[in-house]
Protein backbone atom coordinates (compact mmCIF):
# COMPACT_ATOMS: atom_id res chain seq x y z
CA UNK A 1 0.00 0.00 0.00
CA UNK A 2 2.38 2.69 -1.11
CA UNK A 3 0.47 4.37 -3.91
CA UNK A 4 -1.91 7.23 -3.23
CA UNK A 5 -4.57 5.45 -5.30
CA UNK A 6 -4.33 2.38 -3.11
CA UNK A 7 -4.67 4.51 0.00
CA UNK A 8 -7.78 6.03 -1.51
CA UNK A 9 -9.29 2.57 -2.13
CA UNK A 10 -8.47 1.67 1.45
CA UNK A 11 -10.17 4.85 2.70
CA UNK A 12 -13.29 4.09 0.65
CA UNK A 13 -13.38 0.52 1.97
CA UNK A 14 -13.03 1.68 5.55
CA UNK A 15 -15.91 4.07 5.07
CA UNK A 16 -18.05 1.36 3.51
CA UNK A 17 -17.24 -1.14 6.25
CA UNK A 18 -17.22 0.67 9.59
CA UNK A 19 -15.61 -1.04 12.60
CA UNK A 20 -17.56 -3.97 14.04
CA UNK A 21 -17.90 -5.09 17.63
CA UNK A 22 -15.77 -8.22 17.87
CA UNK A 23 -16.70 -9.04 21.44
CA UNK A 24 -18.62 -12.30 21.92
CA UNK A 25 -21.69 -11.44 23.99
CA UNK A 26 -22.85 -14.93 25.00
CA UNK A 27 -21.47 -18.33 25.72
CA UNK A 28 -21.83 -20.56 22.65
CA UNK A 29 -21.11 -23.81 24.45
CA UNK A 30 -24.81 -24.81 24.91
CA UNK A 31 -25.34 -24.40 21.15
CA UNK A 32 -22.15 -26.35 20.45
CA UNK A 33 -23.29 -29.14 22.73
CA UNK A 34 -26.64 -29.26 20.92
CA UNK A 35 -24.80 -29.59 17.62
CA UNK A 36 -22.60 -32.40 18.93
CA UNK A 37 -25.61 -34.29 20.28
CA UNK A 38 -27.63 -33.84 17.09
CA UNK A 39 -24.80 -35.04 14.87
CA UNK A 40 -23.81 -37.81 17.25
CA UNK A 41 -27.22 -39.43 17.08
CA UNK A 42 -27.60 -39.01 13.31
CA UNK A 43 -27.29 -42.13 11.20
CA UNK A 44 -24.15 -41.83 9.10
CA UNK A 45 -24.23 -42.26 5.33
CA UNK A 46 -22.21 -45.45 5.39
CA UNK A 47 -24.73 -47.02 7.76
CA UNK A 48 -27.42 -46.34 5.16
CA UNK A 49 -25.14 -47.68 2.42
CA UNK A 50 -24.57 -50.86 4.40
CA UNK A 51 -28.29 -51.30 4.95
CA UNK A 52 -28.95 -50.76 1.23
CA UNK A 53 -26.34 -53.39 0.32
CA UNK A 54 -27.92 -55.84 2.76
CA UNK A 55 -31.37 -55.26 1.23
CA UNK A 56 -30.02 -55.77 -2.30
CA UNK A 57 -28.26 -58.94 -1.22
CA UNK A 58 -31.44 -60.29 0.42
CA UNK A 59 -33.44 -59.46 -2.71
CA UNK A 60 -30.98 -61.18 -5.06
CA UNK A 61 -30.26 -64.18 -2.81
CA UNK A 62 -33.36 -64.81 -0.66
CA UNK A 63 -32.03 -68.28 0.28
CA UNK A 64 -29.15 -66.45 1.98
CA UNK A 65 -31.51 -65.07 4.60
CA UNK A 66 -31.93 -68.50 6.15
CA UNK A 67 -28.17 -69.04 6.15
CA UNK A 68 -27.75 -65.63 7.78
CA UNK A 69 -30.32 -66.43 10.45
CA UNK A 70 -28.63 -69.78 11.06
CA UNK A 71 -25.27 -68.02 11.57
CA UNK A 72 -26.84 -65.57 14.00
Amino acid sequence: MTHGDDKEIQRLLKEAFPPVDRELRRDLWPAMLGRLEARGSAVRWYDWALLALLCIWMFLCPQGILQLLYQL
Binding site: I9, L12, E23
Partner: protein, 172 residues
Protein backbone atom coordinates in the same frame (compact mmCIF):
# COMPACT_ATOMS: atom_id res chain seq x y z
CA UNK B 1 -0.73 -30.16 26.24
CA UNK B 2 -2.92 -32.39 28.39
CA UNK B 3 -6.02 -30.69 27.02
CA UNK B 4 -4.87 -31.22 23.45
CA UNK B 5 -4.16 -34.88 24.12
CA UNK B 6 -7.62 -35.14 25.67
CA UNK B 7 -9.21 -33.51 22.63
CA UNK B 8 -7.39 -35.91 20.35
CA UNK B 9 -8.81 -38.82 22.30
CA UNK B 10 -12.33 -37.40 22.07
CA UNK B 11 -12.58 -36.23 25.70
CA UNK B 12 -15.60 -33.91 25.77
CA UNK B 13 -14.41 -32.09 28.89
CA UNK B 14 -11.13 -31.20 27.20
CA UNK B 15 -13.03 -30.02 24.15
CA UNK B 16 -15.32 -27.88 26.31
CA UNK B 17 -12.35 -26.26 28.07
CA UNK B 18 -10.70 -25.45 24.73
CA UNK B 19 -14.00 -24.22 23.32
CA UNK B 20 -14.56 -21.83 26.22
CA UNK B 21 -10.98 -20.63 26.02
CA UNK B 22 -10.98 -19.93 22.30
CA UNK B 23 -14.58 -19.21 21.32
CA UNK B 24 -14.10 -15.44 21.75
CA UNK B 25 -10.99 -15.34 19.60
CA UNK B 26 -12.56 -17.46 16.85
CA UNK B 27 -15.77 -15.39 16.92
CA UNK B 28 -13.83 -12.10 16.77
CA UNK B 29 -11.79 -13.31 13.82
CA UNK B 30 -14.84 -14.48 11.88
CA UNK B 31 -16.73 -11.30 12.76
CA UNK B 32 -14.07 -9.24 11.00
CA UNK B 33 -14.74 -11.15 7.82
CA UNK B 34 -18.52 -11.64 7.81
CA UNK B 35 -19.50 -8.54 9.87
CA UNK B 36 -22.76 -10.05 11.10
CA UNK B 37 -23.22 -11.17 14.71
CA UNK B 38 -25.64 -14.06 14.04
CA UNK B 39 -23.63 -15.45 11.14
CA UNK B 40 -20.40 -15.13 13.11
CA UNK B 41 -21.92 -17.13 15.98
CA UNK B 42 -23.10 -19.88 13.63
CA UNK B 43 -19.73 -20.02 11.91
CA UNK B 44 -17.92 -20.18 15.26
CA UNK B 45 -19.91 -23.30 16.10
CA UNK B 46 -19.23 -24.72 12.63
CA UNK B 47 -15.51 -24.05 13.15
CA UNK B 48 -15.41 -25.98 16.41
CA UNK B 49 -17.53 -28.75 14.91
CA UNK B 50 -14.94 -29.17 12.15
CA UNK B 51 -12.16 -29.08 14.74
CA UNK B 52 -13.89 -31.79 16.76
CA UNK B 53 -14.37 -33.97 13.70
CA UNK B 54 -10.73 -33.55 12.63
CA UNK B 55 -9.30 -33.81 16.16
CA UNK B 56 -7.35 -36.99 15.42
CA UNK B 57 -5.34 -35.17 12.75
CA UNK B 58 -4.34 -32.36 15.10
CA UNK B 59 -0.64 -32.17 15.92
CA UNK B 60 -0.54 -31.69 19.70
CA UNK B 61 2.87 -30.01 19.36
CA UNK B 62 1.25 -27.19 17.39
CA UNK B 63 -0.68 -24.19 18.69
CA UNK B 64 -4.41 -24.79 19.04
CA UNK B 65 -5.26 -21.10 18.57
CA UNK B 66 -3.50 -20.89 15.22
CA UNK B 67 -5.17 -24.09 14.05
CA UNK B 68 -8.59 -22.85 15.17
CA UNK B 69 -8.08 -19.55 13.36
CA UNK B 70 -7.11 -21.35 10.16
CA UNK B 71 -10.21 -23.54 10.32
CA UNK B 72 -12.30 -20.43 11.08
CA UNK B 73 -10.93 -18.64 8.02
CA UNK B 74 -11.80 -21.60 5.80
CA UNK B 75 -15.28 -21.74 7.31
CA UNK B 76 -15.74 -18.02 6.61
CA UNK B 77 -14.54 -18.43 3.01
CA UNK B 78 -16.92 -21.38 2.51
CA UNK B 79 -19.75 -19.25 3.89
CA UNK B 80 -18.97 -16.35 1.52
CA UNK B 81 -18.78 -18.81 -1.37
CA UNK B 82 -22.16 -20.36 -0.61
CA UNK B 83 -23.88 -17.06 0.17
CA UNK B 84 -22.43 -15.23 -2.82
CA UNK B 85 -25.42 -15.51 -5.10
CA UNK B 86 -28.01 -14.30 -2.64
CA UNK B 87 -25.92 -11.66 -1.03
CA UNK B 88 -27.22 -8.40 0.31
CA UNK B 89 -25.30 -5.42 1.44
CA UNK B 90 -24.32 -5.67 5.11
CA UNK B 91 -26.17 -3.60 7.65
CA UNK B 92 -24.48 -0.29 8.17
CA UNK B 93 -23.92 1.83 11.20
CA UNK B 94 -24.76 5.51 10.73
CA UNK B 95 -21.82 7.20 9.10
CA UNK B 96 -20.21 10.45 10.08
CA UNK B 97 -21.82 13.67 8.89
CA UNK B 98 -20.43 14.83 5.57
CA UNK B 99 -21.15 17.88 3.46
CA UNK B 100 -23.40 15.90 1.11
CA UNK B 101 -24.65 12.71 2.77
CA UNK B 102 -26.60 11.56 -0.30
CA UNK B 103 -23.50 11.50 -2.49
CA UNK B 104 -21.47 9.86 0.25
CA UNK B 105 -24.10 7.15 0.63
CA UNK B 106 -24.13 6.51 -3.10
CA UNK B 107 -20.36 6.16 -3.18
CA UNK B 108 -20.44 3.83 -0.20
CA UNK B 109 -23.04 1.62 -1.85
CA UNK B 110 -20.95 1.44 -5.01
CA UNK B 111 -17.89 0.46 -3.00
CA UNK B 112 -19.88 -2.28 -1.27
CA UNK B 113 -21.22 -3.54 -4.59
CA UNK B 114 -17.74 -3.58 -6.10
CA UNK B 115 -16.43 -5.39 -3.03
CA UNK B 116 -19.12 -8.07 -3.22
CA UNK B 117 -18.02 -8.85 -6.77
CA UNK B 118 -14.57 -9.92 -5.62
CA UNK B 119 -13.89 -13.63 -5.23
CA UNK B 120 -14.18 -14.94 -1.64
CA UNK B 121 -10.41 -15.32 -1.29
CA UNK B 122 -9.73 -11.77 -2.45
CA UNK B 123 -12.49 -10.45 -0.20
CA UNK B 124 -11.08 -12.09 2.89
CA UNK B 125 -7.55 -10.86 2.13
CA UNK B 126 -8.78 -7.32 1.37
CA UNK B 127 -11.03 -6.93 4.38
CA UNK B 128 -8.43 -8.24 6.80
CA UNK B 129 -5.53 -6.28 5.30
CA UNK B 130 -7.17 -3.03 4.26
CA UNK B 131 -10.21 -2.59 6.51
CA UNK B 132 -9.05 -4.34 9.67
CA UNK B 133 -5.36 -3.59 8.99
CA UNK B 134 -4.20 -6.95 10.30
CA UNK B 135 -0.52 -7.71 9.68
CA UNK B 136 0.16 -9.70 6.51
CA UNK B 137 1.94 -12.38 8.56
CA UNK B 138 -1.16 -12.90 10.68
CA UNK B 139 -3.42 -13.18 7.63
CA UNK B 140 -0.96 -15.55 5.96
CA UNK B 141 -0.95 -17.78 9.02
CA UNK B 142 -4.75 -17.80 9.22
CA UNK B 143 -5.04 -18.72 5.55
CA UNK B 144 -2.17 -21.19 5.62
CA UNK B 145 -0.44 -19.38 2.73
CA UNK B 146 2.88 -17.58 2.33
CA UNK B 147 2.91 -13.81 2.93
CA UNK B 148 3.65 -13.24 -0.76
CA UNK B 149 0.36 -14.88 -1.72
CA UNK B 150 -1.55 -12.55 0.60
CA UNK B 151 0.23 -9.49 -0.83
CA UNK B 152 -0.70 -10.64 -4.32
CA UNK B 153 -4.34 -11.17 -3.31
CA UNK B 154 -4.57 -7.72 -1.76
CA UNK B 155 -2.94 -6.18 -4.83
CA UNK B 156 -5.40 -7.98 -7.12
CA UNK B 157 -8.33 -6.98 -4.93
CA UNK B 158 -7.33 -3.31 -5.07
CA UNK B 159 -6.85 -3.46 -8.84
CA UNK B 160 -10.24 -5.11 -9.39
CA UNK B 161 -11.97 -2.71 -7.02
CA UNK B 162 -10.48 0.27 -8.82
CA UNK B 163 -11.59 -1.10 -12.16
CA UNK B 164 -15.13 -1.78 -10.90
CA UNK B 165 -15.42 1.64 -9.29
CA UNK B 166 -14.23 3.38 -12.43
CA UNK B 167 -16.92 1.53 -14.36
CA UNK B 168 -19.46 2.79 -11.82
CA UNK B 169 -18.27 6.34 -12.24
CA UNK B 170 -16.27 6.55 -9.01
CA UNK B 171 -12.65 7.55 -9.60
CA UNK B 172 -10.53 6.70 -6.57
Amino acid sequence: MELLEGLKEGDLDAFETLFRQFQGDVYGWIMQVVRDRGIAEDLTIETFWRIYRARERFDTEGAFGAWARRVATNVAIDHIRSARNMEQLPEQLPSKETPDPAIQREIREKVERAFLRLSPKLRVAAILALVEERPYEEIASALGKPVGVIRTRVFRAVRQLRKQLERMGVTP
